[in-house]
Amino acid sequence: MSQTTKIDVLITGVGGQGIILSSDIIAETAIASGYDVKKTDVHGMAQRGGAVTSHVRIAGTVASPLINEGNVDILLAFEKLEAARWAGYLRPGGIAIINNHSLPPLSVALGADRYPTDAEVINLLKQRIDEVYLVGGTGLALKLGDARTLNILMIGCVSAFTPFTDEAWKKAVSELVPPKVRDMNLTAFDRGKEEVHNARV
């Protein structure tokens, strides 16, 4: 990622993937590290299954909670189609970290639409940025013993590109995940941070 005095993170995915908790953790980590933060979640009217985005803005002072098109520094996508959809929000020099996982909308199963190929998704992103990371997050989370650790694993990936200490990250994770699954999530965080460096495409 090229130099910037602010970090605008756009998290995208599907309702039920743990997106809102992950943006809370990013925001808490940034505050504890001395930054101003605003975050906002954009979701539709259903409990599950619809597209969800969360904006996290980190800087010396932040006015608007919403990130404008062409300004995203880090696109964190929990699902491939939801990465492609937001390519235009990236700024040149930004990065995209994508969970290598497809959740086809019902219209695809019904044969009315086609799910984009990996090459198509990556092509859309690479028109704007160079650094695209495709992480096998869902598979790794399952190996750790719980698919629900995906969001913390993806946060581990983000942590590799921020100025915050691992200590600050892990404190926020520990405070915001349920105590019963804390250790598993801390392992997921480490795994994500490691894995992202091998995931560039």
């Binding site: 599907v14 309702g15 809370d24 925001a27 808490e28 505050i31 101003d36 933060v37 605003k38 975050k39 906002t40 979640d41 954009v42 979701h43 539709g44 009217m45 259903a46 409990q47 599950r48 299954g49 619809g50 597209a51 932040v62 006015a63 608007s64 909670p65 919403l66 404008n68 098109e69 062409g70 189609l81 939801e82 492609a84 959809r85 390519a87 235009g88 700024r91 040149p92 086809p104 909308p105 019902l106 219209s107 695809v108 199963a109 019904l110 044969g111 009315a112 639409d113 086609r114 799910y115 984009p116 198509e120 092509n123 859309l124 028109q127 704007r128 698919a147």
Partner: protein, 605 residues
């Protein structure tokens, strides 16, 4: 103490620290979390009310009894509550009364986009608008003080982006240690709004408004921020943040009270800058009221009046109005790939699935991709719908909703269609959820009994207010505090109203649901079917997940037409994502498969 709080969390904490004793609400996006957060404080009585009108009345009663009270609701909730709200504006209050209403610019989760700032002018009451969570917290104690000082309900207006954004809050107040004295002093001239006393109250309202306007001029959250004097921007709420980002060096008049306006401050500001513009979301509310003072201001001739703003839209609009230099756009992303949309869906294991599938097939609305010419045909049913998760039934593959207007409207509409003489062979069915039925479905059902309707009403009872986040309601027997309470029995209510044909069915039993719906619509009598089945999101343990045996499956595609998101396809072969499947709590796909290819996964454990 520094905390990261959403606007709704900050409203709740601010009210708590202001000493609120009674808090009421009906859930509605984006306002629901206000009451959810207040309910956590043991010193505060908090309730989910039957609907917003009742919420307002309970809060008003508490205020009459001398304690600080608040009601919170979404923008259309204030329509429902407008009768007691307008009356409260006339009687005034005793203990401070604050009404928090959250507008939904951009219509993220509502049936309309309405600018509730007009309600302040209509009711002639003061209105406060925060620009972030800190102000949401800080303004609440002031809202109660203003209410008590001026004998008026105070309207605090939020929007989705204020309510659902988190920002840093300095939590600087404490709740008063002592509770107020509860006392109601009889005062018919103030509290009994017979015309004789309402007429006496009427001039007091106008006097109050004059005093409020004077107060607005000295209110600490109405503030001139001098900068570059060539441009002066008047703004409030979240629009202020967008405007600040776009014009970091301009002069600002930031309004915390947006009704009534600070007249002296506005004149001073206008005199101090070359040009005044107003940046506000939705209607030109501030602009029109400022122009009415004879101050030359513009805004809505270049800022959109439809939808949610952001700083990009504000910047682009201001470039168009030559207030900013042209920007060099980023090269657009070129692609021939059409990305499929992802509309919200019913969840796997949703209890609405079977009723919708049945209505879809009876109504000949189903769409099986494997069968040629399976596009929806002219339906045998007219289905008036309502507001909840089940409104998603309007989408494919079900297409089972022909109207959705406002809470409870579907039942009256069904009767209206019938009484209009709709006589083209189609049967009329109304659909409503349990929480919406209790909110405002009972009175139209009374109307249908009294006026001899002949349609079928299906109450989709999932035992919760699902769409807004599973709040309990009077039918659940659980209070807003999570404590057990008396449950209102929907079946008994329906029978007591006088409906003769009432049938309660298991929402997951396809045959039972089909038989009940068939019988009801063929009977040509007013019939109520209650389909009972718990919301799948609240399922504690999932067992007996289904799988498709590819050796028995002939890829007919029928299972795809129930619209379960766990049923997906790999090429032409459908399969079930076991991590999503609700298993033996549902089994609708197993019941529907014509080739018995779907069964629970057997494990050796």
């Amino acid at each position: 103490m520094i905390k990261l709080l959403s606007g709704n969390e900050a409203f709740a904490l601010g009210a708590y620290h202001a000493g609120v004793m009674v808090a009421t609400a009906y859930p509605g996006t984006p306002s629901s979390e206000i009451l959810e957060n207040i309910a956590k404080f043991p010193e505060v009585y908090a309730e989910w009310s039957t609907n917003e009108k009742v919420a307002m009345e309970v809060a008003l009663g508490a205020s009459y009894a001398g304690v600080r009270a608040m009601a919170s609701m979404k923008q259309v909730g204030l329509n429902v509550a407008s009768d007691p709200f307008m009356a409260a504006a006339t009687t005034g209050i005793n203990g401070g009364l604050v009404v928090v209403c959250a507008d939904d610019p951009g219509i993220h989760s509502s049936q309309c986009e309405q600018d509730n700032r007009h309600f302040a002018k209509l009711a002639k009451v003061p209105m406060l608008e925060p620009t972030d969570s800190q102000e949401a917290y800080d303004l609440m104690p002031l809202a109660f003080e203003i209410s008590e000082r001026f004998d008026t309900p105070t309207l605090v207006r939020s929007t989705t982006r204020i309510s659902h954004s988190k920002s840093v809050v300095n939590v600087r107040y404490n709740r008063p240690a002592t509770s107020p004295t509860v006392a109601f002093k009889r005062n018919p001239e103030k509290y009994v709004m017979l015309p004789t006393s309402a007429r006496l109250r009427r001039p007091l309202i106008e006097e109050r408004l004059v005093k409020l306007a004077e107060y607005s001029d000295v209110f600490m959250y109405n503030k001139i921020e001098w900068g570059d004097r060539s441009l002066g921007i008047v703004s409030s709420g979240i629009a202020y943040q967008y405007a600040r980002e776009v014009f970091p060096t301009a002069s600002f008049l930031k309004l915390g009270i947006t009704y009534p306006l600070p007249v002296k401050m506005l004149r001073e500001f206008a005199a101090g800058v070359k040009r005044v513009i107003v940046i506000e979301e939705l209607d030109p509310f501030l602009e029109e009221n400022i122009c009415a003072l004879g101050i030359n201001a513009t805004g809505k001739d270049f800022i959109p009046r439809i939808g949610e703003l952001n700083s990009g839209i504000v910047a682009e609009s201001c470039r168009h109005a030559r207030l900013l230099p042209k920007a060099v756009p980023l090269p657009p992303i070129k692609s021939d790939v059409k990305l499929p949309a992802r509309p919200p869906l019913l969840c796997a294991g949703c209890p609405h699935t079977a009723p919708f599938f049945v209505l879809s097939t009876i109504g000949k609305r189903s769409l099986n991709p494997k069968v040629k010419d399976s596009t929806p045909k002219e339906s045998g049913l007219v289905i008036t719908g309502d507001i909840g998760c089940y409104t998603l039934g309007a989408y494919p593959p079900w297409n089972v909703m022909d109207t959705t207007t406002c809470m409870g409207a579907g039942i009256g509409e069904a009767l209206g269609m019938e009484k209009a003489g709709l006589d083209d062979g189609r049967k009329i069915v109304a659909l409503i959820g349990d929480s919406t039925f209790i909110h405002s479905g009972i009175t139209p059902l009374v109307d249908a009994v009294y006026n001899q309707g002949h349609f079928t009403l299906i109450i989709l009872d999932n035992g919760t207010t699902a769409m807004t986040g599973h709040q309990p309601h009077p039918g659940t027997g659980v209070s807003a505090k999570g404590e057990p309470s008396q449950a209102v029995d929907i079946e008994k209510v329906v029978r007591a109203i006088g409906v003769q044909n009432v049938k309660v069915v298991n929402a997951f039993d396809l045959k039972e649901v089909r038989d009940a719906i068939r019988t009801a619509i063929d009977s040509n009598q007013l019939s109520v079917i209650i389909t009972r089945g718990g919301c799948s999101v609240l399922l504690k343990k999932r067992t007996g997940q289904m799988a498709i045996d590819a050796s028995k499956c002939n890829q007919c595609g029928v299972c795809l037409t129930i619209g379960c998101p766990a049923i997906q396809t790999a090429g032409d072969q459908p399969f079930i994502d076991a991590s999503m499947c609700a298993g033996d709590a549902c089994t609708v796909c197993q019941q529907i498969c014509p080739h018995q290819a779907i069964a629970a996964i057997t494990t050796d454990k």
